[in-house]
């Protein structure tokens, strides 16, 4: 049984042009110890999936799912208290924008100690617990690669560099020793050296603690270096998912192929300064979603059939939704 199990998750948003499906029958699972990449262009709904999992969807949106469960229990039928408990102890999230998710009026030290759950502290007296908190805090800071612990803990978020805040967010997520880490675009804007440090840290946590990770990113290079499996999203629909190796070697969905081809580093034989392959056009807005397969207007393989939504098909553990997948070469 997967630890996180999402089946046919649909999220409808009320817009000036009526209700639109910002997420349309999303499927996603995560086993214990698995690292899954969730990729897709900006606006494809990655962060909305995170919101659905953590339960921060506004009341006036419609959320439905055949299954949205955590360790066998349905998240949708839990009360707010049970859900909060899971979010405090078992699932940790690093949100996309560290600056916006840190409290500007509290020191980084206070915020970090605040996120240590009580069950990790053994001491009976508050001074013992305070000492334990301090020790845990500096241990985790060391892990995420912040050198000047003491100095940094006294500081407010605006007083330190952006990448320190970023690492701080990750430290806060890891200090509660979660079972699942959801990291929403954790490497955006990071230079290569810092990025590799972070990836190494996550890989180590994954190997030593069996931490499961849902890694959301545009950065294919970073993601493919550490993920076991990958789910590709386009415009609120899951278009393909499977083993990372398999998808990279032999994508079946035209969008996955376009995505992989867009990263010059993936293509060794690509001559310097030659054109990169790109799909025409851009991702449509929620207000102008095409009917049927949402890639239709941009897809080089589209045909008449594509105005119908393609069903999910599978070959072993490899799932895809396309009427004319790449392994059926004859069109």
């Amino acid at each position: 049984m997967p630890m996180l199990d999402i089946k046919n998750l649909t999220l409808e948003i009320d817009t000036p042009v009526g209700w639109v499906k910002a997420l349309d029958r999303i499927n996603l699972t995560l086993e214990k110890g698995e690292v899954r990449a969730l990729v897709g262009e900006s606006g494809s709904g990655k962060s909305l999936i995170v919101r659905a999992i953590v339960g921060s969807v506004p009341d006036n949106w419609r959320l439905t799912a055949d299954r949205l469960s955590w360790k066998g229990e349905s998240l949708l039928s839990m009360n707010a208290e049970q859900r909060r408990k899971i979010m405090r102890k078992e699932i940790a999230v690093v949100f996309q924008n560290p600056q916006a998710s840190l409290d500007p009026s509290a020191t980084l030290g206070d915020q970090l100690e605040e996120s240590i759950p009580a069950h990790l502290l053994a001491g009976k007296w508050f001074w013992q617990r305070n000492a334990e908190r301090k020790a845990l805090a500096s241990k985790v800071l060391h892990k995420v690669g912040i050198k000047d612990h003491q100095d940094c803990l006294q500081k407010f978020p605006h007083e330190v560099a952006r990448d320190v805040n970023h690492k701080m967010m990750i430290a806060m997520a890891l200090v509660s020793e979660p079972e699942l880490l959801i990291a929403d675009d954790p490497t955006r804007g990071m230079e290569a050296t810092t990025k590799v440090q972070l990836l190494k840290l996550l890989t180590r946590m994954n190997q030593t603690k069996e931490l499961s990770i849902l890694f959301i990113s545009h950065d294919l290079l970073a993601i493919s270096s550490m993920a076991n499996t990958m789910t590709v999203l386009y415009c609120g629909q899951t278009v393909e998912s499977g083993k990372m190796k398999q998808l990279r070697k032999r994508p079946l969905h035209p969008y996955t192929k376009a995505l992989l081809d867009s990263a010059p580093s993936f293509r060794k034989e690509l001559p310097v300064k030659s054109d990169l392959s790109a799909l025409d056009g851009t991702i449509p807005t929620l207000q102008h979603l095409p009917i049927g397969c949402r890639l239709g207007p941009r897809c080089p393989r589209a045909q008449k059939e594509c105005v119908k939504v393609p069903a999910v098909r599978r070959i072993h553990e490899h799932y895809y939704s396309c009427h004319y997948p790449l392994h059926r070469d004859k069109l």
Binding site: E41, S42, K195, S262, S265, A278, T282, I283
Partner: protein, 260 residues
């Protein structure tokens, strides 16, 4: 052959004072020297705060340097103060989203620099706007659009059109690809390379994305603490990085590369 752009001994000294009692801290930037030929691309890399954006701002004349010369086609530019050379060296800002005025149409936004700096009449200006939109792969009708009606990729194109409309010889861009989606990013990269082939445009860009740096740049300039610590042909820098910082950066990038 005279290089398109030739930068010599460019420096900037800034005084910082936290409050009036503090002794002023002095920050030095530079000296910077490089040449750029027609149709060539120079990539600027370095950590946050190493002075990449300062350099970009110096090049387009948004900041006046303390010393140094910038020559365009062998002629010295007047430095700083939004001088004439601004029109020939144009900047695309980090976040094209925020730098586009939401209250006016794409057409009037593009006409603005023409109105201020040329003697073209209304009809000629509109013609120029149409031509430039076509150059960046958009339609004439897009001139009636407001910012909110455009997708990210189209906004990036408008920002590029606004830089191109004064027929510059060099474009300077601060992280032009970071906010773009993979497919839009490839489109933009292709567009810039095409403009370089067609118009001989010089392109200088700042980026953390070493994959793209390696693919499109001819030369690199590595900054650290406001100093150039390494410069050279891109392939040379990637294959034989000399400074410790560059070695680490390249090694990190290589460690992510898939094994085929």
């Amino acid at each position: 052959m005279t290089p398109l752009l030739s930068v010599r001994n460019l420096t900037l000294t800034q005084k910082h004072r936290k409050n009036w009692l503090d002794k002023a801290q002095i920050e030095h930037f530079g000296p910077i020297e490089f040449d750029l030929n027609r149709g060539e691309t120079l990539a600027i890399i370095g950590e946050n705060g190493s002075g990449k954006s300062v350099l970009a701002n110096l090049l387009v004349g948004a900041i006046t340097p303390t010393s140094g010369t910038i020559k365009l086609n062998g002629e010295a530019c007047v430095l700083g103060g939004h001088a004439e050379h601004n029109m020939k060296i144009r900047m695309i800002f980090q976040n094209s989203n925020e730098s586009l005025n939401p209250g006016i149409t794409v057409g009037s936004m593009l006409q603005e620099p023409l109105r201020l700096n040329t003697t073209l009449n209304e009809r000629e200006r509109i013609q120029k706007v149409d031509d430039t939109l076509r150059q960046v792969g958009m339609l004439r009708d897009h001139k009636y659009f407001y910012r909110h009606m455009l997708s990210d990729g189209q906004r990036q194109r408008v920002a590029l059109a606004r830089a191109l409309i004064m027929e510059p010889e060099v474009i300077v861009a601060d992280e032009p690809f970071a906010a773009l989606d993979p497919s839009v990013r490839s489109q933009t990269v292709n567009l810039i390379m095409k403009l370089q082939r067609d118009l001989g445009l010089g392109f200088i860009f700042i980026s953390h994305n070493l994959g793209i740096v390696r693919h499109i740049s001819d030369r690199m300039l590595v900054l650290q603490h406001g100093m150039v610590i390494e410069t050279g042909k891109t392939e040379t820098v990637f294959n034989w990085p000399r400074s410790e910082y560059t070695q680490r950066l390249v090694a990190s990038h290589q460690s992510l590369m898939p094994n085929f």
